[in-house]
C-alpha cells in the first residue's frame, strides 16, 4: 500500500498557503476599504465643504457614521453568508469571528448616526435634539428607519455573550434573522431623506449594488444553493449504529455524494425532517469520506438535540448545507503534520486522515481518551495510519492534575512531553480537535513552542 502514496507528487504547502494568505489579505483590505468608500461617498457629494459651523459638522459626522455603520452591517451579512470563496480563504470560524467583532461597532455607529443628526439639526434650528424627533418622524421613510434601529439593538443585545446564554440557539437565531429586516428598513430613508444618495448619482448606484451583493449572497448561499443541493442529492438516513454507549454513527444514503466536494475534516449543517427534529439544525463533521452513495457522521448524545437525532428512524429525509470549514487538507502550510484529537473530536480527524494527501513519515497522530470506552473509531484511524505510513500514538487516562493538563497523568509522570511526541513540531501543521476545555490546554502548550499561528488549526468540539 505505501508505494501508492509515495508516487503522488509532493504538494508544496508553502505555495498553496501563500496563495490562500493573499486571498485572506485581500478580504481584509476589501473590508476596510469598503468602510473608507462609505465615507468617500459623503466627500464625493461635496461634503468636505460642510465642515463650517458646529451644527453642520455634527450633521456631517452623523451622515458619515450612518454610511460606515450600514457598510459594516452589509459586510457582516456577507461574512455570514457562507460564501465558498470566503470559506476557502479564511474558514467559516474566522468569518464568523470577524462578523461578531463588527457587531458592536456597527451598532454604535448607527446609534451615533441618529444622535449626531438630531443634535446637528437641533443646533441649526434652535430646538433641542429630542424635539427634533417629531419633525423627523414626519418625513417619509423615517418611521421604518427608527423601527430598523430598534430591531438592530435587539439583535446585538441578544448576541451579547451574557444574554445569549439565556436563549436557546433557535430563539436567538430567530431574533438574529430580524437583522435582515432592520437593514432592509434602513434603505428607503437612505435613498429618500439623505442627499448623498440622490437619484442619478454614482453614489446611489454603488450603494444599491452593496445592498444587492449582501442580500444576494445571503439568498444564494444560505437558501437557494443548500435547497438545490438537498433536492439534488436526496439524502436519507440509511442506518444508525451504536459506536459506544451514548455515541452513534448515523449513515446516510444519497445520490452523487462525491460531487458535494467535501474534504475530510469539513462539516455540514444537517436538518432531519421528522416532526420532532425539523426545526433544529446540527453542524456536524463527516466521520468518513462520502462515497458516491453514502456518507457518515458520528455524534455523542450531549445536547437534547443530538440525543433526538440519534433516535431518528431509518428513511428520514435529511437536508444539508455545506461543506464548510477550513479544518482540512486545504489549510496546510508546513511540510509535516501533527494531529492531536480527544474524545468525540476524533471524528473529523478520521475523515481528514482518509482524505488528506501526505507521504509516509510525514504525519504523527496522538489520540486521547479518558477511558477505554471513549476510543471512538480508533480502530479505523489506526488502519488508515498504517496504510498511509503515519505514526499513531494513543494516550488513555484522565487529565493530569500536574504538568501538561491535556495529557494523562501516567504519561506526564513518565516524562512524556509535546516535544517528545512531535520532534518536528516547528515544521508541522498542528491539527487539534476536542472538547473546548481540553483543547485550550493543548493549544496553550503548542503556542508556548512559538510556532507560527498559521500552523495551528483548532476545531473546538462540544457535542
Amino acid at each position: 500500500m505505501p508505494q501508492r502514496f509515495s508516487t503522488l507528487p509532493r504538494v508544496n504547502h508553502k505555495r498553496t498557503y501563500a496563495r490562500r494568505a493573499r486571498r485572506a489579505d485581500l478580504l481584509v483590505m476589501l473590508l476596510w476599504t469598503s468602510g473608507a468608500a462609505a465615507a468617500a461617498l459623503f466627500l464625493a457629494s461635496g461634503g468636505a465643504a460642510q465642515f463650517t459651523t458646529p451644527a453642520a459638522i455634527m450633521t456631517s459626522l452623523g451622515i458619515i457614521t450612518g454610511l460606515i455603520g450600514t457598510d459594516f452591517i452589509l459586510v457582516m451579512l456577507v461574512l455570514a453568508a457562507r460564501i465558498p470563496a470566503i470559506d476557502r480563504a479564511i474558514g467559516h470560524d474566522r468569518a464568523i469571528a470577524v462578523h461578531r467583532s463588527l457587531g458592536k461597532p456597527a451598532l454604535y455607529l448607527i446609534l451615533a448616526h441618529g444622535a449626531l443628526l438630531l443634535i446637528g439639526y437641533g443646533m441649526s434650528t434652535g430646538f433641542n435634539p429630542i424635539a427634533e424627533i417629531g419633525p423627523m418622524l414626519a418625513l417619509p421613510d423615517m418611521p421604518i428607519a427608527f423601527v430598523g434601529t430598534g430591531l438592530l439593538i435587539a439583535v446585538v443585545v441578544t448576541s451579547l455573550v451574557a444574554v445569549r446564554r439565556k436563549f436557546s440557539y433557535e430563539g436567538w437565531h430567530l431574533v438574529h434573522l430580524l437583522s435582515y429586516i432592520a437593514v432592509a428598513f434602513a434603505l428607503p430613508h437612505q435613498l429618500s431623506v439623505g442627499g448623498i444618495l440622490a437619484d442619478g448619482t454614482v453614489q446611489r448606484a454603488y450603494w444599491i449594488a452593496l445592498y444587492l451583493i449582501a442580500f444576494g449572497s445571503i439568498a444564494i448561499f444560505r437558501f437557494i444553493e443548500p435547497t438545490i443541493s438537498s433536492l439534488r442529492h436526496r439524502i436519507t438516513v440509511s442506518g444508525v449504529t451504536t459506536v459506544a454507549p451514548g455515541v452513534t454513527s448515523i449513515h446516510f444514503a444519497g445520490k452523487n455524494l462525491r460531487s458535494l466536494g467535501a474534504s475530510g475534516g469539513q462539516f455540514f449543517i444537517w436538518r432531519f425532517w421528522t416532526k420532532r427534529t425539523w426545526w433544529h439544525s446540527h453542524p456536524i463533521s463527516l466521520s468518513a469520506m462520502p462515497t458516491s452513495t453514502s456518507a457518515r457522521i458520528t455524534v455523542r448524545d450531549l445536547g437534547r438535540g443530538s440525543a433526538r437525532i440519534s433516535a431518528v428512524p431509518v428513511g428520514t429525509k435529511v437536508s444539508i448545507e455545506g461543506p464548510y470549514g477550513l479544518f482540512s487538507d486545504a489549510a496546510r502550510t508546513a511540510p509535516k503534520l501533527a494531529i492531536i484529537a480527544a474524545g468525540i473530536g476524533v471524528t473529523p480527524i478520521r475523515a481528514f486522515l482518509e482524505h488528506a494527501r501526505f507521504a509516509p513519515g510525514e504525519a504523527t497522530i496522538l489520540l486521547r481518551a479518558s477511558t477505554e470506552e471513549e476510543t471512538y473509531h480508533w480502530d479505523e484511524i489506526r488502519d488508515i495510519a498504517a496504510a498511509k505510513g503515519a505514526l499513531c500514538y494513543v494516550m488513555i487516562g484522565h487529565r493530569s492534575p500536574v504538568g501538561a493538563g491535556w495529557m494523562s497523568e501516567s504519561d506526564v509522570r513518565r516524562g512524556v512531553t509535546l516535544a517528545a511526541a512531535f520532534p518536528d513540531l516547528a515544521r508541522s501543521d498542528v491539527y487539534l480537535c476536542g472538547p473546548t476545555a481540553w483543547l485550550d490546554l493543548v493549544e496553550k502548550d503548542v503556542r508556548a513552542t512559538r510556532i507560527p499561528a498559521h500552523q495551528i488549526h483548532a476545531e473546538r468540539f462540544d457535542w
Binding site: 485572506a24 481584509v28 476596510w32 468602510g35 464625493a44 457629494s45 429618500s192 442627499g195
Partner: protein, 165 residues
C-alpha cells in the same frame, strides 16, 4: 502577511478617500459655476416673467387704482427669478397692493431631498412673515436654512425690482 493586509488596507482606504474628496471638490466647483452662470440666466428669465407676468396678472381695477397713486409700484403679483441652490431651486411670487407687500407665495422651494423639503417647510412661513413685517427682502437668516433663505430673499428682491418697489 498581517502587515501586508494592514498596509494594503491603509493604502486602498486612503486612495478611496482622496478620490472621493477630489470628486467632491469637482462637484463643489460645478455648483459654484452653476450659481454664477445661473444668476444671469435667472435675471434673463425674470426679464421674460417681468415682461409677461406683471402685464398679464394685474387686475384691470388694480392698474386703474394704481394710476392715481402714480409714484408707487403697480398692484399685482410679480414672480421673482428662480435661484439655484445646492438643494434645489427657489422661486417666489410677491403680491403688491396699495404700495405694500401683501403676500409672498412659494412657486418652488429647495427639494433636493427629504431633509431639504423639511427645511423648506419650516423656513418658508418664517421668511414670508418676516418679509411682510419688514416690507423688504432685507431680513435675517433663518437658522439651519441658509441656502433656502438666500434663494428665497434673492427671488423676493428680483420680484420687487420688477415692480419698481
Amino acid at each position: 502577511m498581517r502587515t501586508r493586509a494592514v498596509l494594503g488596507s491603509l493604502f486602498a482606504s486612503t486612495a478611496v478617500l482622496v478620490v472621493g474628496w477630489q470628486a467632491g471638490g469637482a462637484v463643489l466647483a460645478n455648483q459654484a459655476i452653476g450659481t454664477t452662470t445661473s444668476a444671469p440666466q435667472a435675471s434673463g428669465t425674470s426679464g421674460t416673467t417681468a415682461a409677461t407676468v406683471p402685464s398679464a396678472t394685474p387686475l384691470p381695477s388694480a392698474t386703474a387704482t394704481a394710476a392715481p397713486v402714480a409714484a408707487g409700484p403697480a398692484d399685482g403679483t410679480y414672480t421673482g427669478s428662480s435661484v439655484n441652490t445646492p438643494f434645489g431651486s427657489v422661486q417666489v411670487a410677491v403680491t403688491l397692493s396699495g404700495g405694500t407687500i401683501t403676500d409672498v407665495t412659494a412657486v418652488h422651494l429647495t427639494d433636493a431631498d427629504g431633509r431639504s423639503r423639511q427645511i423648506s417647510n419650516y423656513a418658508a412661513p418664517m421668511l414670508r412673515s418676516e418679509v411682510l413685517s419688514s416690507q423688504s427682502a432685507h431680513v435675517s437668516n433663518v437658522g439651519g436654512a441658509t441656502y433656502t433663505t438666500r434663494g428665497y430673499l434673492q427671488s423676493v428682491q428680483s420680484a420687487l425690482d420688477q415692480a419698481g418697489f
